[in-house]
Symmetry: D4
Subunit: 154 residues, 8 copies
Amino acid sequence: MPKVRILMGSKSDAEIGKNAKALLDELGVDADMVVASAHRTPERVERLVKKSDADVFIAIAGLSAALPGVVASFTIKPVIGVPVSGKLGLDSILSVVQMPPGIPVAAVGLDRGENAALLAAEIIAIGDPSVAESLLAYRKNMAEKVIADSEELC
Amino acid sequence: MPKVRILMGSKSDAEIGKNAKALLDELGVDADMVVASAHRTPERVERLVKKSDADVFIAIAGLSAALPGVVASFTIKPVIGVPVSGKLGLDSILSVVQMPPGIPVAAVGLDRGENAALLAAEIIAIGDPSVAESLLAYRKNMAEKVIADSEELC
Amino acid sequence: MPKVRILMGSKSDAEIGKNAKALLDELGVDADMVVASAHRTPERVERLVKKSDADVFIAIAGLSAALPGVVASFTIKPVIGVPVSGKLGLDSILSVVQMPPGIPVAAVGLDRGENAALLAAEIIAIGDPSVAESLLAYRKNMAEKVIADSEELC
Amino acid sequence: MPKVRILMGSKSDAEIGKNAKALLDELGVDADMVVASAHRTPERVERLVKKSDADVFIAIAGLSAALPGVVASFTIKPVIGVPVSGKLGLDSILSVVQMPPGIPVAAVGLDRGENAALLAAEIIAIGDPSVAESLLAYRKNMAEKVIADSEELC
Amino acid sequence: MPKVRILMGSKSDAEIGKNAKALLDELGVDADMVVASAHRTPERVERLVKKSDADVFIAIAGLSAALPGVVASFTIKPVIGVPVSGKLGLDSILSVVQMPPGIPVAAVGLDRGENAALLAAEIIAIGDPSVAESLLAYRKNMAEKVIADSEELC
Amino acid sequence: MPKVRILMGSKSDAEIGKNAKALLDELGVDADMVVASAHRTPERVERLVKKSDADVFIAIAGLSAALPGVVASFTIKPVIGVPVSGKLGLDSILSVVQMPPGIPVAAVGLDRGENAALLAAEIIAIGDPSVAESLLAYRKNMAEKVIADSEELC
Amino acid sequence: MPKVRILMGSKSDAEIGKNAKALLDELGVDADMVVASAHRTPERVERLVKKSDADVFIAIAGLSAALPGVVASFTIKPVIGVPVSGKLGLDSILSVVQMPPGIPVAAVGLDRGENAALLAAEIIAIGDPSVAESLLAYRKNMAEKVIADSEELC
Amino acid sequence: MPKVRILMGSKSDAEIGKNAKALLDELGVDADMVVASAHRTPERVERLVKKSDADVFIAIAGLSAALPGVVASFTIKPVIGVPVSGKLGLDSILSVVQMPPGIPVAAVGLDRGENAALLAAEIIAIGDPSVAESLLAYRKNMAEKVIADSEELC
């Protein structure tokens, strides 16, 4: 039973979704992925949220990115929103971040599927020490890569 | 049976909604008004849209203003979206305007309840000559007021 | 007699205009298309609006996109404005959306010719059940495509 | 016969218009002032521009500030546009500045009626040495006021 | 032992912090609150994060709001960032949202302390059914309030 | 003796400057062109402005585009500012438009060298009927091109 | 002989300038203050910069804030620019920050006179250990105030 | 012992860092360069700042560019921040410029590594006449290049 469900608003968000899923796999967090549009398939979004036993949802969308908020309206599980870049950029960021009081969405940065995965893993890791260990290892690798980059470049 | 249904995302949008309704009344267009939040009461929004026989919907919301798009996802009737001003302004405008392909929303300007009413009346007027006459009279009055203002000020 | 008249502010808006017209054709809504600039040919715009019997106007323009508002100043028919992207993007969006009180324009998203066509068709469909059927079929296809995309990708 | 015609899009722009006129008076440039809305009274704008013998036009407007561009579409005289501040500010600035190729507008800053008057006077001064002298005196006074302010404050 | 630690970057963020804490109390989630500035007291932030056993951190800051990211750099627990409004608004939103890859922050909207509390509670509720019940009751109350508002206003 | 002096802040603005000069040539307005940077060569700018007998100055600059304002500080002749696009766009627009009270600059749109030339010609044409005729012919050609484009495309 | 010269573009910037001077006094750095406008008194700015023996300049200005860049064009001493808030805010920030290559300005935040003073003191402190001690004491006080605020509020 | 330490937040900032270092070399200012991320390697940043005897720090970062502020939190030496461009641009500019009161950062323009180097050299030059001479020569070359460009182009 997947712990994280990833919803993408459109086929064009596939790369961001796949990166998120791949990183969750690497961290030992089971996840599944679906395409479902808040505007084109509202009942499908409702069903895919309500019927899921996931502990965390990741919703990826561009433009007037309603998907994360709509997912959040159907669940009290944490919902992570990933704004997707387009001609403006500010539109999707503000649509995901500026949620009204009462229904929170956890916004990550523009196109930041990997940060959505890491945040989901951090949430799962509160109750799962093995994921916490994966996260610590991931951070250690990142830090070592910074040092290696420094030595290579400077 | 009201021709126009006005949905407000929150009690704080009441003034804009009431102005829109008052102008529709003045133009001879029957309208009703409800509070329904896309995020706090998603099923209520769905029910209030699907059960309505209105020809036009007006949806008023601020911040990450998902309401107009969510209303549009449940109907093929024209949906007019009114972004409401707050600390930023750009957030609600972009959330209402930047709809993805396939589900249109007709955005009017920030806090422009009266323009939403006029646009709704213009749509109704295509099939109702008496509303068209009201609109022509309204425009004539506006133009005369510009001339009166000019004489008073200049 | 065309039900929808599409005005493009410049030759460079042709692709967006043609997409809108093609979709209106597909939905069974008769439309014609003209190039007319609010700034370079103001009398032409006035004539093309006042002499038309169209029920809906679509006006497509970039930069300081005055065309939709100027079209709206000459008619009480609904006017749909399509802002066209350029170096900034925000300029055309705000020029189309932020109309003053009294003269409404129905703004759709940046470069969203197809949404302008769908919104025009929704307005026509109020009085024409065959267009309503086309719209319902169009939505059904879109929703099925989302499911097919989901199955292909996930 | 006034050399400068000031057009205000709405009564609410009166203070900016009056400041501009007062400064033109002070500089010895004859000016008149009218209210005329590009959207509410398009024919009036056309008539007030075409029938005028003014050498320079000043057009003052907020929101989707089409007035300066519309005035410019009816004349080859220089047109100065004054964007008026509102809830956003960027909307009127971009609407006035971002004119398409072929029809120029000379934009001054947000609410800068006095700079519109000075620019108009600079244009008139090319052919009128007495206005040039007024402008030089005005600049001298400004510079002296900077020094006086410096002495008072520092 | 508090489950949530709230860090405020400055005394001026106190109201947002207190609202967040009050809501966590109401939802049955134990929380504590400290003032600690990423820029003025960097070691204090590090110590207050590393020495805490909290499951979730909430970091509240304005301007170049580095606090949430700095907190996140010291822990693999989920960090919720609350941008605080000031003269611009966009500065704190973008500083909180646009985190680089590898170190996620969960951004909520401008001044949205209550949504930070709700998101923290949603995370705690994954492992604590009594908090989940509190959240469901909170949502039910909100939805009922929408209906009551609708009846009162419409 | 050239009537218009074009100043470019940097070599990279050459294309915009050359377009402006070519259009002035075509309209029968004598112009010269120089590179002079407000920041790198302040005395050169001062000298090139004060020693010139031009009736109109055009100043072209990007980023923090101080050149138009600095030119204006040395003359009471009309100064037209052309903001040049770069990574942001808004920076040069706002730097050119938002002049303080007392020293006007006539801003045209981003990269709009041709509009700067037309505005300069409009100013010259007040006292030179042959330039006025060139401008009328230019406008007529533009309008005819719109009609030709319409016939070709529609 | 003052080590720091503070230039304010206008009388309305006086409060920010006085705060900067008061803090420099407190830190033991000798400073003087003048009003001088890049646009209204260009020669005065040039003279006040070239004749000064200050080691650091602070330039405070709003709108199209050319003053810091103009000061920098006349000296190879470090120039600190303080953008002043107005109707937009972004205008002065971008005018101060986005300097072209070759002439640097050190921008601090909107209305941040105290940070300009601290930065100037940091520069002076490189060669003056007593100023360095003042800065260390200032930082210590700030940090202690954060702790005191925390104890008072939490 | 290097006078300037350049910190880059990520490998992708290498080109900007190398340009800054090359220009410092050319100006006769000794500098070293390291990669260190405020978010991925916070302790490394702290150590690299506290252990350095540099007189000036340059910190280069994109997105939510916390690095300059974090460096500044650990030192009373002047810190120059270089915002790096990405999908938005405004995010890194505002994160670097909008520092809270008490901890200054000297922001230069987007991707302006060379201006960071020049500003650092200006600071060093206060106490080192040979660097001052290099800077004067650099400015002279720039000014001559403007004149050469003018002769070539005009």
